[in-house]
Symmetry: C2
Subunit: 259 residues, 2 copies
């Protein structure tokens, strides 16, 4: 079984509220259709310009403190916004003949310090057995520490890879992979292969390497480190048609994490 | 904690696809707001003209047999239609200041012979602890016997009443309660109170009583029978403003099932 993370910046333009890159998602679905049902899939998508504005407006990450009534409302609104994005993705997959099925992350995960501490996976297992393609998403979640919090798609990917024993995990991003420096810089170079040791080194020496490991990439690398001992991991550009097929075939594309 | 079942025919006009009785739902939310947060609530709604047309078109109740590919697509489409109705209801509650939170029934229940055999309730418990109002719905569900099937809202209500120990269960319908004969008939009389023994008698002598116990009412009465030993049960007209308040206060309205 292969887990694919659809980065929020791939499927949505973060600068435009509620924008959806339908053509990109359609292309991704078509590439997956080339491997399904011989291969099983789980998809996890990020929030893009659906989840983030709500989460920010209601300060969900602060937890269930201060103006608790408004926080509860915002918690629910953020989830509903994510369900809207999820619905758009599900529909594209169904149009391509792929049996995507929505699973609400907040209905099955409890978190603490931003990470999953409890997951109810029985229904996911059954959906996979019956050749469905479950689609989960970064979501609001009940948190044992703060009451409520945000659960990122990357955390879900890492947890599912471990618990369901995926053979491959592919992160679709809006850049070509992991760079040795900030990819916006002129002398940044794509890293084609990374070993666990190299990731650890990168994370430790974030300042000298120039990679912003405190942000999303850092978190992704930390999760990749956890996953890489039992699953292949790729970081590829999800906006370039054909990349996903290459990663699915095991060809050279983006950044591959060596086990 | 009180469980309220919003019948599909109360919130939606079954004859008009995707119709939503917003004013009715708004009224119900306002009545609930008179008792929350002193009292905890779970809501479960039916499919109305959102779920049923899809479930019928794709013959979901047949299970995962014949034209399996199309069945899988229909299974997902039916769930997405239910999420749309759920979103409309959630929004009305949020507008009224009530922290409704969507929980996808198919993400937490496994069924067999149409009944729940496995339910993952940890997140529901946490949501209640934190004063959210979880809103679930009749849904498509993975079935141990048929592969896929439909899970009715009434089954969810009965399961949650048992597992979460509700103090009261209120079924909102589009008629005034349980009648001694088909309520469309001229000489039908509302039954104000029913004991367990009387329900058993009604179910056994369905022909002589004139009640259609093979349909929705029969199923509701069977579930009420299970619930009534540990929870108060009311059947009331959800379209009449003030009825819910009466039932919440324990006043005489509709049909009350005696424990």
């Amino acid at each position: 079984m292969i887990i694919i993370k659809l980065g929020g910046s791939v499927i949505s333009d973060k600068k435009t509220p509620y924008s959806f890159n339908k053509d990109i998602v359609k292309g991704i679905a078509k590439e997956i259709a080339g491997f399904y049902p011989e291969e099983g899939f789980i998809l996890v998508h990020g929030g893009g310009s659906f989840g983030h504005p709500n989460a920010k407006e209601y300060r969900i990450r602060e937890g269930l403190t201060k103006d608790v009534k408004r926080k509860r409302i915002g918690f629910s609104k953020t989830h509903q916004a994510m369900l809207k994005l999820n619905d758009l993705i599900i529909n594209v997959f169904l149009e391509e003949g792929l049996p995507a099925y929505s699973v609400s992350s907040s209905s099955i995960f409890l978190i603490e310090k931003g990470d999953i501490v409890y997951g109810e996976l029985e229904i996911l297992r059954k959906l996979l057995e019956k050749d469905f393609i479950p689609i989960l998403f970064g979501d609001t979640a009940i948190a044992l520490d703060k009451g409520i919090d945000i659960l990122s798609g990357d955390q879900i990917v890492s947890y599912l890879a471990k618990m369901l024993k995926s053979s491959k995990v592919i992160f679709l991003m809006d850049v070509d992979g992991i760079y040795n420096k900030n990819p916006k810089g002129e002398d940044a170079k794509l890293i084609e292969e990374l070993s666990s040791e190299e990731i650890e080194h990168l994370l430790k020496s974030s300042e000298s390497s120039g990679i912003d490991v405190t942000g999303g990439i850092g978190n992704k690398l930390r999760e990749a480190l956890k996953i890489s001992s039992y699953s292949e991991v790729y970081f590829i550009n999800g906006k370039v048609r054909g990349n996903l097929t290459k990663a699915l075939k095991g060809e050279k594309v983006g950044t591959r994490i060596k086990a």
